[in-house]
Amino acid sequence: MSEPVALKLTAKDFKSDQEVRWCPGCGDYAILAAVQQFMPELNIPRENIVFVSGIGCSSRFPYYMNTYGMHSIHGRAPAIATGLSVSRPDLSVWVVTGDGDALSIGGNHLIHALRRNVDLKILLFNNQIYGLTKGQYSPTSEVGKITKSTPAGSADAPFNPLSLALGAEATFVGRTIDSDRKHLQSVLRAAAEHSGSAFVEIYQNCNIFNDGAFEQLKEPSTRDDHLIRLEHGQPITFGKDGQFCVVHPPGGFGLEVRETASTPAEEIVVHDATVDDPAYAFALSRLPGFDLRNTPIGVFRSVCRPSYDSVVQGQLADAKATVSETPEQQLAGLLNGGDTWTIVG
């Protein structure tokens, strides 16, 4: 194969002519800018990129990308994108969704896209609130959340999106934050390189209905104590001076945070996103508490499994390889199949 020609695209090439209409200050602006700036790296012609979304604030995203795009219906983007991706393996298909879209009304499609390992890059903007419908609690809102629809506090426990994705057999799971462009793009890069479904949760601030939900992860004075930046092959330590670390205590199932100073170096977990057993990534996904302390970001899991697209296309190719007739001849043979009889005029 010859070297791909450099397309020399820029972020500007990915901006559509549509006026961006999110609320001023919305985290979606930062994500859009980061994605538009990242896209040229893919070196994929714009016409071969498709953004498919559902319904919600985040789902306006495709209108602002100068690629092909479809703003579909609530929760169904993974299903629609699956049909597109499996029938058009030449395309790079991205799904943009939110916590309500992906985890509430569209939960079923999300988990099935992940278990099939469809070649989709799924970006879930999680702001822990329903924004477009003006402020009801979402499936990622904390218990007791007081909103318009839950004046006495919500009664239901939230999903942990990464735990859910891992339980659904996802082969790539990552998390990043709207305001950290460099980190966001590093996770997008890893997702784009992954063959099969890549699930990326992006913490996104809704400054109108749930402002500051992730503030501890952004505020310079607190973020280093809260964020665990996962790096493949590196011991998991965090805190301003790396004073905390993650260990796997013997006899337990999960991971725990310890003080680095009192922990033998060999007990500190070295991050390996390629571990086949999803229990490791799952344990990572359970580290944060409700105050967002100990929140890992980065690539939790990235393992190889044949994509649904490649298996389906492989079956088609194998079947086609067995025939030498034209489609018309095959069809004639098919119609004349079974027990036939002839009436002579």
Binding site: E47, G69, A79, T82, G83, P327, A332, L335, T340
Partner: protein, 615 residues
């Protein structure tokens, strides 16, 4: 012993037994033999939704009716001339359909005290007066089959299971059917277990020989081949014909076919059939639910495939939101609804035409789609091609309303030449269509078809965004402009309303009828048979049948107004009648039944005779 041979014009046989007795297979084989002989045929399977209801009970009865004749016939027949009853339940469940004088062949081995009690027979109907007036032929089918296989190396259970082949052999002898194809079929079916080939062939031959030797069957019947147009035929069910029509649509359009489906009775067989045609570029996806199934199909259409989803009524209800999206996106999509009795789960294996309202109106907003319905099993092939043609040409969802009756019924099909099938090739947009030569306007319409360009991802220079939000005419940009919305709603309605469809044809041989019977979908056969019967009695009646329900044929209003009375029989509570009355202000009379079974020609004849009297 030389037996008397009697000629018949037509015969209706019903094979009935327990779900596990293989009655569908027996019926299928008899049908195939009959097709080989050149009779015209129509069949009606009738089986419970339960895979294995308790053995020997009434809910567990499965039956297969085959009507064959030396002339062209339209229905599987109102009432059987012959009932094969493999157990007391099969006898009891079917006896009320049998006219006096009919032949009943019963498997006496199953008429045990226990089996009789299961269905509430206090004494054996073979011994009391229950069957007075019928020609009863008691045959110890099970024990004779076991006896015939005594020399073979098969278990008693396998030997017993071959009793349906004994019955088939006997009936094949009675009606002088050619048996070569059945013997070949058994060799294929049991290729991996030669002992079962031997057992089933032996059972079949034993049944045949029993007929030839026993004195109980003194007469053998013949039904001469029907005069049918020359050509090559095969017997086909509606679901298979519909599947082949979809495959053919792929070949004739040159597009890959993508089926998204979720298993549902009675549509699953289409998924099964299409999953076998990967060589022709057919992709099938068994989705996680009905919504994902249509979503994936729409996604594939967006990418340039012929997107299809197949389901039954409950599935269409779930797909409504996505159909509405497809209306807004103006992309091709074929939605197949094999209707069954509702509401809710209803009677999944029984037929009904009660989804017409849903097909025409069952979406939010003004969301018109094209709707067509096949009239017979083989017509499903052509209806599928027509659905694809409309979807591809006019970039619209099309709902194809089949039903359980045509889906599982079968009839001979005159095989078409591939070259004679419609040319469905489409042109994708490849260059900007704006006046400046660089802009792409995704909602700039073809003035003839009102279709927008189909610009598939991967086409350089035509990058654009579509979605469910209202779009501005031409540009496709999001628009909340009042006048634009009014224009777009009316344009989407006009898009469907102006699709040219063939005029409805009226069958009124003498041109003197004052009453018109209007039908749609699977009622074609029974209505046609009733009209023929009336005409033969000198009572003029006209028949018209709608294939296109949206848009309706341009001449329909004039046709309706040219008769004194319009009667609309439907297997629902008057859904088409309601539309016709509203649309054409014609005082149409509905004739409705929802028993899960097709109309009989006789009941329609009786009803129409009453109408004729009062015109």
């Amino acid at each position: 012993m030389t037996k008397q041979v009697r000629q018949l014009e037509r015969v209706v046989i019903r094979f009935a037994g327990d779900s596990g007795d293989g009655m569908q297979l027996t019926g299928d084989r008899f049908t195939s033999e009959t097709a080989q002989l050149g009779n015209d045929i129509s069949t009606l399977p009738n089986f419970p939704a339960e895979i294995r209801a308790p053995a020997g009970t009434l809910p567990g009865v499965s039956s297969f009716q085959v009507h064959f004749a030396d002339y062209d016939i339209l229905t599987p027949g109102d009432a059987p001339n012959v009932l094969v009853a493999m157990n007391p339940a099969a006898l009891k469940a079917n006896l009320t359909d049998l006219p006096r004088g009919a032949d009943i062949i019963v498997n006496t081995d199953e008429f045990t005290r226990r089996n009789l009690a299961k269905v509430g027979y206090a004494s054996s109907p073979l011994d009391d007066d229950t069957l007075d007036g019928y020609a009863v032929h008691p045959v110890a089918l099970t024990s004779m089959t076991i006896g015939a296989l005594a020399e073979l190396d098969v278990s008693k259970k396998d030997a017993e299971r071959a009793k349906n082949m004994f019955a088939l052999g006997l009936l094949s002898w009675m009606y002088s059917r050619p048996h070569e194809s059945t013997l070949r079929f058994l060799e294929r079916k049991f290729a991996k277990r030669p002992e079962l080939v031997a057992a089933n062939v032996a059972a079949f031959k034993a049944g045949w020989n029993f007929g030839e030797t026993t004195e109980d069957f003194a007469v053998r019947y013949e039904v001469k081949p029907a005069k049918m147009p020359p050509g090559t035929y095969r017997n086909i069910t509606g679901n298979t014909a519909l599947s082949l029509g979809l495959v053919a649509a792929g070949v004739r359009s040159g597009l890959p076919v993508f089926l998204g489906a979720y298993p549902i009775t009675p549509a699953s067989d289409i998924l099964h059939e299409l999953s076998r045609h990967k060589r022709l570029g057919v992709t099938t996806m068994q989705a996680e639910d009905e919504i994902a199934a249509i979503g994936a199909a729409l996604g594939a259409s967006y990418g340039g495939a012929l997107g299809i989803t197949t389901t039954s009524g409950p599935g269409v209800a779930l797909k409504g939101e996505t159909i509405s999206l497809a209306v807004a996106l103006e992309l091709p999509l074929v939605i197949v609804d094999v209707q069954r009795a509702g509401p809710s789960t209803g009677m999944p294996t029984k037929t009904e035409q009660a989804d017409l309202n849903m097909a025409l109106f069952g979406r939010h907003g003004e969301a018109p789609v094209a709707v067509i319905a096949p009239k017979s099993p083989s017509d499903c092939f052509h209806a599928a091609l027509e659905a694809a043609r409309i979807a591809l040409t006019y970039r619209t969802p099309v709902i194809l309303l089949s039903d359980n009756y045509v889906a599982n019924g079968s009839e001979p099909w005159l095989l078409p030449e591939v070259d004679s099938l419609p040319d469905l090739r489409v042109e994708f947009a490849t260059t900007p269509n704006g006046e400046d030569g660089t802009t792409f306007l995704p909602y700039l319409r073809d003035p003839q078809t009102l279709a927008r360009p189909w610009a598939v991802p991967g086409t350089p220079g035509l990058e654009h965004r579509i979605g469910g939000l209202e779009k501005a005419d031409r540009t496709g940009d999001i628009s909340y402009d009042p006048a634009n919305h009014d224009f777009m709603v009316r344009t989407r309605a006009a898009r469907i309303e102006t699709i040219p469809v063939p005029d409805v044809e009226v069958e009124d041989p003498d041109g003197d009828a004052r009453v018109l019977v209007l039908g749609w979908g699977s009622t074609y056969g029974p209505i046609g048979a009733a009209c023929r019967a009336l005409r033969q009695r000198g009572l003029p009646v006209a028949q018209a049948h709608l294939r296109h329900l949206a848009p309706m044929p341009a001449n329909l209003g004039a046709v309706l107004r040219s008769y004194d009375r319009v009667v609309i029989p439907e297997m629902n509570l008057g859904q088409l009648a309601h539309v016709i009355r509203g649309r054409y202000l014609v005082d149409a009379i509905g004739y409705n039944q929802v028993r899960g079974l097709p109309f009989t020609a006789a009941e329609l004849e009786t009803m129409l005779e009453e109408v004729l009297k009062n015109v």
